[in-house]
Structure formats: structure tokens, C-alpha cells
Symmetry: C2
Subunit: 316 residues, 2 copies
């Protein structure tokens, strides 16, 4: 499927960091960066940019904060075609701490928000835009947003100067019908803007939902090496690159990063499809209960987890 203006965004470190508090060593991050550059990946999201007033350095590694010096240690002056992205959360960053683009190795700042924060997200994004960055807004947990609220958010985005808006399946609960319906709504409400997709793999739908989004007009697509990410993980980069068959991208460097760093990490941390994540996804619930369950000694007691989640349907 050849789509000239498609952009692939690697989120391995940023989303994967949710599983190890962003404690990747430099060699790991450098390997992912080198793989992205050689594979032709358009953006590498290297972490969250956060304030130390919001998060402790003791509990979180450098990629929760993305200091300029830390990024430079990995990418130098980044004289490559792969742009560097960071994500910010509303209320976890002081906007004044963001330098002008010309003093930063960062190219794109993505603002993650819930629907009630959309005005703040636009303010944050336009602030970064004015400092010279590419920006985009990722509206999380859309599977819980009722239509009037979503329509209002889309009207606000349409009026803003923000050029890119993301469909985010935070709970891994969306099937292809949902994706088609939401993509139709997004593209209709936001003519001339770029739509992105960020999928989770609770129900083994992340890659398929990414393809569906592309068919529906998404031109910015998130993926991670071997699907590394919170809980069930993300759309696997290797599947996406193999699917695209676009000469701009190469699979072998992705496999190199997986082979050297990401696959060996499976011995230390567990992510990917597991029954508790499937249950929370299929029930359209936040993965926090399934993540807790997977961290407990009961992780393989799938029946009890289903009963716990269905506690109000006692005759199930």
C-alpha cells in the first residue's frame, strides 16, 4: 500500500517506558534511534517531557523528563531524516521550561489530553507551535467520550492552528467498525488537517486497526518495536513496515533493534497480549485493573479476573 505522505512515528521508548519507568540505558535508546534512522522511520518519540515538580527523578528515568542534554547524548545534532518527538501531559509540564525550537533537538511536541482538557491542550500546542515546533494533540480514552463532547472537541480543534490530531485507542477496546466510524467523524470535522492513529493491542487488534485507519485516511501512524508498550502493547513496528512495502522504509534495521535490545528485554519486563488485558479491552475499561492483576500472584487466574470485572453481573 503506497501512500506518499504517510509518516511513521516510533513510540518504543515513550510508550515502552510506561513498563519500566523510562529506565532505558543509553545503549538501548541509541540502538532504537539508529534502527529508526536506518529504517527510514519519520519520527522517534524519545519520551515524555515533564516537570520535576510533577514526577520524581528517583522513581523515573531520564526519558520521563527528556532534558536537552539527555537527548543530545543520544542523537547529537540529529542530522538525519528522522525527527525527534516528545509527549507532554497537561498539568505535568511548565510551558516556560520549553525552549525555542532553534535551541532544541526536539522537532515535534505531542500534547496528550482527555476530552475535558481540550482547550488547555490547544493552548499548550499553540504555545509550542509559536516556539517553532511541529505539534499535535492526542485525545486519549475516546472510547469513553460521548458524541456531543467529542463533536465539541473536534469543533475546537478545527478552529485551532493545530495541524495534527490523533485517534487514540487508550484501552485497546476498539474494533474495526469503531475505527471506521471515528475516522469518518475526524476526517469530516477536520478538513485539511492530518489525522494520526495510536492503537493498543489488548484484543490483538492494534495492527489491524492501524491498517483500517490508514485506509480511512490516517497519515501519521504510531508503532513500537515488537509492540513494546504498556500492558498489551502497541502496533508492532515490524508488522507495519512489512505491510507498507514502501521503498522509503526498510525492515532489516527494525529487526536489528528488536534482536539486539527489545526482544532480550522480554526477560526483564512482560508486555503483549495476555488474557487479563483482553478482558479489560473487551469491556472498554482502563487497563489499570489488568495491569495490577498481571503484577500479582493471581496473574494466571483468568476466571477470577473476569468474575472481578463482572462483579455486578453476578450470574455471569
Amino acid at each position: 500500500m503506497y501512500i506518499e505522505n504517510l509518516k511513521v512515528v516510533d513510540c518504543t521508548i515513550r510508550d515502552g517506558g510506561l513498563m519500566n519507568n523510562w529506565n532505558f540505558d543509553d545503549d538501548f535508546v541509541k540502538t532504537v534511534y539508529k534502527s529508526c534512522v536506518e529504517a527510514g522511520v519519520d519520527y522517534m518519540e524519545i519520551g515524555y517531557k515533564s516537570s520535576e515538580k510533577a514526577y520524581s527523578r528517583k522513581e523515573n528515568g531520564p526519558w520521563k523528563f527528556c532534558d536537552e542534554a539527555d537527548i543530545r547524548r543520544i542523537v547529537g545534532d540529529n542530522k538525519t531524516k528522522t525527527k525527534i518527538s516528545v509527549m507532554i501531559d497537561i498539568g505535568r509540564i511548565e510551558l516556560d521550561a520549553i525552549k525555542p525550537k532553534k535551541e532544541s533537538a526536539i522537532d515535534m511536541i505531542r500534547v496528550a489530553c482527555y476530552v475535558h482538557q481540550i482547550d488547555k491542550a490547544i493552548q499548550h500546542a499553540e504555545h509550542c507551535l509559536d516556539k517553532g515546533y511541529e505539534v499535535c494533540i492526542n485525545l486519549m480514552s475516546v472510547s469513553k467520550v460521548i458524541e456531543p463532547d467529542l463533536d465539541e472537541a473536534l469543533r475546537d480543534i478545527a478552529k485551532s492552528r493545530v495541524q495534527t490530531f490523533y485517534l487514540v485507542d487508550s484501552f485497546g477496546s476498539l474494533y474495526s467498525d469503531h475505527i471506521e466510524s471515528l475516522m469518518a467523524k475526524y476526517t469530516t470535522a477536520l478538513p485539511g488537517k492530518q489525522i494520526g492513529i495510536h492503537a493498543h493491542n489488548n484484543m490483538q487488534m492494534a495492527f489491524s486497526n492501524t491498517i483500517t485507519s490508514i485506509k480511512c485516511g490516517a497519515t501519521m501512524v504510531d508503532a513500537t518495536f515488537l509492540g513494546l508498550g504498556r500492558g498489551a502493547g502497541n502496533c508492532p513496528m515490524e508488522c507495519l513496515i512489512a505491510f507498507l512495502k514502501n521503498p522509503k522504509y526498510r525492515l532489516l534495521p527494525i529487526l536489528e533493534g528488536i534482536q539486539k535490545k527489545v526482544h532480550p528485554l522480554e526477560k526483564e519486563i512482560q508486555w503483549g497480549y495476555h488474557i487479563p488485558y483482553m478482558i479489560s479491552g473487551s469491556m472498554n475499561e482502563h487497563p489499570k485493573d489488568s495491569l495490577e492483576w498481571m503484577d500479582s500472584d493471581n496473574r494466571n487466574d483468568f476466571m477470577s479476573f473476569l468474575r472481578k470485572m463482572h462483579d455486578k453481573e453476578v450470574l455471569e
Copy 2:
């Protein structure tokens, strides 16, 4: 998605047996059977029916042969709504060895064939039909069949008395566009017949392709507990049942079978998504090379496997 005439076919023992030569103990098979019955699964495919002239009892467990006595030991007289299915391969079974339905616990016989065997497959299926069984034909490796051959096969099926025909993604190489195209072809060529889907998970598309097939009119769908099956495995039954949300089916008994028997089996045999299977799937190749690679000490050398598969594209 409520579809009144949908039938779910469990293939855990039959397809999973490809990974352990059908050496499941009785307790394992009984647990899967009990789960299927309690979950409302319409058919349980308990194995292959094969001749001992084709396969050795030394190398293969009972579910490669499906003797009547073995089946009865599991299902008794099977006074349940779950029907029992077996698969036969062309040239690996003597038709005279198949008893009349009234003497057997088997309800359905599925004939697996390649496109050049379609006439033999129809002969086999109609032979079984005349003995009183439900029958269907599973055309394997359709991702390698060119259109004139496929059209001829479909014309032959259309003229036959065989009521059910399967879309089988043997190599796990089909994306949703392929499924939509093939389903359109099958439903157009076979008016009044039932279409089934059997998917493999090489590219994490098995469940999604199953959903796509259902949306395109498939009414018989194969799945296995925790996706157990050859290589990357199959459409996971738990995802399918959670998706269907049909009061006819229950998820909890499926989780019971997984928790008690199928999940613990992961300590002994490996199946499911792995990079070598993804590579062979994305290249539309038979999984035999990736299966061999996964059985070797090189299993985690993904780069070398890609290079081996791409050996003709030396500059890749």
C-alpha cells in the same frame, strides 16, 4: 454483533496437534470438550481422521487418527449441543474406513485440500455426505492460487452437493483487503452455500481477519483456545467469544479451559506471534522455513532469517 446463524468451530486439538503430534492426554481433551460444551461452541474439531497406512502410531497420538473408541472415551454419547468434527486429508484416509454416521460420534467431516485436489475433495465430501455426515471443504493455501484456478474450483464447488466451503489463510499472509476480496468472490460464486473462515496469526491479523470475514458474510468461524495452533497459531477463541457478545456463547468456560490446560501448555510447547512467523507470513510463504528456524538455536536471530528468506534480493 448479533448474527443468528453464526457457528463457532473450535480447532484447539486438531490444529494444536500440529505442534505436539496430537499427543494430548485425555484430561486435556476432556477439559477442552467440557469448556466448548459449557461455552456454547457449536463444533469441536477433535482431530484428524487418518489411516495408519499414512501415519505411524509411534510418531502420532490418538487425535491424528480419531478412532471411534478414542472419541467416545472423551464425549460418551455426546448428548450436548456441541457437535464433533474431524478433518481428513486427501490421500491420507481410506473412505471405506469411515463408518455410517449412525455408528459414529462424529457429526461433521471437513475435507482439507489444495486447489488441484478439488475434484477429489468433492468426491470425498459427497461420500461422507451420503454416509450421513455434515461436510465441508477447506481449500488450503489460497494465497498462492491464481484466479483462473480459483474460479474453476469455485464453479466445481457450486455444482456439488457440498454446502460449506472455507476461506483458509494457511500462511497467515492475508490482510483485510484480501479477505474482503476473497469473501466477495466466494459469496458471489457460491450462492446459498455457507462460507467459513480459518485464519492464522503470523501477522497478528487472525482475529481481525475473522471479524472481517463475518462482516463479509462468513457464518462458520474457526478459533482455538489461546490461539493454540501451528506456528503463530489461530484466531483466539477468547477474543472471538468476547467480541460476539451473543448470549448463546459464554466466555468464562473458555477461560476455564485456557487456565487449566492450554496456558500451562506454554511451558512445554511454543506457539503464537514470533518474528520469523511474521516474516514468512508477510512474504506469503509456507511456514515450514519459519517453523524450522524456531526449532533451531538461531530462533532469535531475526536478521539472518530475513536475509535467508530474501536470499534472492541480495541488496536488501
